[in-house]
Symmetry: C2
Subunit: 146 residues, 2 copies
DNA sequence: TAAAATTAAATTGTATCAAATCATAATTTC
DNA sequence: GAAATTATGATTTGATACAATTTAATTTTA
């Protein structure tokens, strides 16, 4: 007994809704900071490891350059990152944090910690079970896992 | 012991990635049909119940008129739906399927049934557990559940 | 019942996303 | 080893997503 098309359609709709609703929760808080949710994701990657190339950021977030290029230009316009075209291979663009970009980390973490109380009433088992089965699904869908 | 901000950030990133990857799987199949994923969602709602108003579709999919108005105009341009302004209340626009719009249902279902084999290797328990915890999260996030 | 409040959809502006395109580099083929 | 092919990285393009504003119509209320 396998999954039906109906099951998959329902699953994808719920994932889609939940993803958008959860992003909205983040976005409401992030409004205090000049970052959108995807921009925050990119900054989070860079805070962990600075000086990545565009494609490396894309791999970590499953985003392609068509999404990242305008986003990174926006982050550059805010002076949070520098875009440096590689001299060795001019196809590549390296992304480096500026001082203001680095400074944003603490403020962002403080703001986002405000989300926690909102989720206090949500069963922790439910969260960890969601996490586990999401990882399964991601492994299954991830092109790299071939 | 409650959820930490890190937990929530990881959860939201996984939801976001899984949602986009699963939508891509649908989109790849839907390419055979002149529908994008959000357009398909709207058609699915209408196949289940024809003649809904714009706001009713928006409630079912958590989408607002800024998203739906252009999308519905696109579906109308493809001659899959008719947009009919209500005579009783001229603020409302009713959406009705055309014959081509109705005919699309079977073809779409046939195409999407091709997804099932791809998920055969995925544990069904994992899917149903994902479904359950997603519903929990949706209830928690859904503004209506206040 | 006229003014105020509410409601529904459309419009506007900003920001994603993914597919197609473009440009450059690496590889193959002869 | 030059031309053709393939691969790779980024940019452009078309279609959402959503907040904020506007327009128009209905309902409330004083």
């Amino acid at each position: 007994m396998s999954v039906s098309s109906e099951d998959l359609q329902g699953l994808s709709l719920d994932l889609y809704s939940a993803s958008r609703l959860l992003i909205q929760s983040f976005q409401n808080l992030l409004n205090e900071i000049p970052l959108t949710y995807p921009q925050f994701l990119v900054m989070r990657v860079l805070w962990e490891r600075d000086g990545l190339y565009v494609n490396q950021i894309g791999e970590k977030l499953h985003l392609d350059s068509g999404t990242l290029t305008p986003l990174l230009k926006k982050l550059e316009a805010h002076n949070f990152v520098k875009r440096i075209r590689s001299e060795k291979d001019e196809r590549k663009v390296k992304i480096e944090l500026t001082f203001p970009g680095k400074s944003l980390q603490k403020k962002t973490q403080d703001v986002l910690s405000q989300l926690e109380p909102i989720f206090e009433t949500l069963d922790e088992k439910s969260i960890s079970s969601l996490n586990t089965s999401l990882k399964d699904l991601l492994d299954h869908l991830n092109p790299k896992s071939k």
